[in-house]
Symmetry: C2
Subunit: 230 residues, 2 copies
């Protein structure tokens, strides 16, 4: 009943990065081998014989881009028979976020092969990677509304406006700053520090930080984030 399989297993990662003021980007690499040689693609590759899936993603990311990941979760597994023109390859895709300070692409060996692209201006990608990207983008938007993953795209300490801009950028809609701030602060896991930051013109901003311990404690109580009102 069970034919001998010749299916290969790959992992691919959709990694988002955010630079202040509305720059949401995705990390891509330019393929050096056929098929799709010289085409942009998501970082990723084949899983090794005795390697866990998540280990494989992290390894590939490090090898291909040098970027350090701050948040990583499994996204979806794509397995259509013809998604790779040559062999049958199923791809377990991952969804990742990086902080601005982990944003820089490594300067050595194949540095010019990896690059950040703004999400609104992506090239045509290899394989079904555009589909994978869209799935990730959808996940990012919906997850932002009920889990505090946005903080993994910001520095450890950030002005409140960074958080606002992150939300408006990703969701593509304006928010009321007073209501947003009131709501976020009501959760109790975002705390003001005593630092103040001045950037360009305008009143200097207090810096805030995300308190993961408090968040985890709330989670145990069946807490639900829920800022879908934004």
């Amino acid at each position: 009943m069970t034919l001998q399989q010749e299916i290969k297993v790959a992992v691919d990662a959709v990694v988002f990065g955010y630079e202040s003021k509305g720059n949401l980007s995705v990390l891509l690499i330019k393929r050096g081998v056929e098929p799709y040689k010289n085409t942009w693609a998501l970082p990723g590759g084949l899983v090794l014989e005795n390697e866990a899936l998540e280990t494989a993603v992290k390894r590939e990311l490090k090898e291909e881009t040098g970027v350090t990941i701050d948040y990583l979760e499994q996204l979806y597994t794509f397995g259509k028979p013809k998604r790779d023109p040559r062999n049958r390859v199923i791809s377990v895709s991952y969804f990742g976020l990086v902080r601005p300070n982990h944003f820089k692409i490594k300067a050595d060996t194949d540095a010019d092969e990896a690059q950040w692209f703004p999400v609104n201006d992506l090239p045509k990608l290899a394989f079904d990677h555009n589909t994978i990207f869209q799935t990730a983008e959808k996940r990012l938007k919906s997850k932002l509304l009920y889990q505090p993953i946005g903080f993994d795209l910001l520095s450890k300490e950030f002005p409140f406006s960074d958080l606002e801009h992150l939300y408006t950028t990703i969701l593509g809609q304006d928010i009321d700053r007073r209501n947003f701030r009131k709501k976020i602060m009501s959760f109790g896991f975002v705390e003001a520090t005593d630092k103040i930051q001045q950037v360009g013109s305008g009143r200097p901003a207090k810096l805030f930080k995300f308190n993961k311990q408090k968040y985890d404690a709330l989670l145990d109580d069946g807490f639900y984030f829920d800022i879908k009102f934004v």
Copy 2:
């Protein structure tokens, strides 16, 4: 850099069924071959050479249990190197729901190998299938609160109390019947029929049905189900 792979790809399904009055069950099969011969396991098996993943699940379900699925979505991909004691096998798991009238297990060939088990009284399962089950149960609970998947566990026409009991059973908490009914009806995609059903003692109940078209139309407007208050 890329060693020759010897990884096999399987699919497994966690299929939930619901019989009236608080009986939530999962579909299991008894394995006929090593490893884990004679141990209960989730239905599933290896993906064929040119077969889509979802096709594979449906095929395995049909072959092993004869049950017709009403709702199916991908759950998670499990890929720890030692999850199968013999070969490296990654499992793409699926999450399924069946209506009561599709509940019966086929009577032919290996019928006695498939069986419904109440979720609160599962045996120890083969491989990491207990983990897979737990992941599915969690998904069922959380999904019930923001997507109307509960209807895929009921008959096409059902008394309102069936819906209530479904929610109390799966979530494991009581609900206020008046508020629940008010909320569900406010969404507009549950409609009363003109049929009335009498079961045992008590006042006979109007039958209701789920209107998928109306639901889909709402979805396009960015509608969010949200009955997490239950």
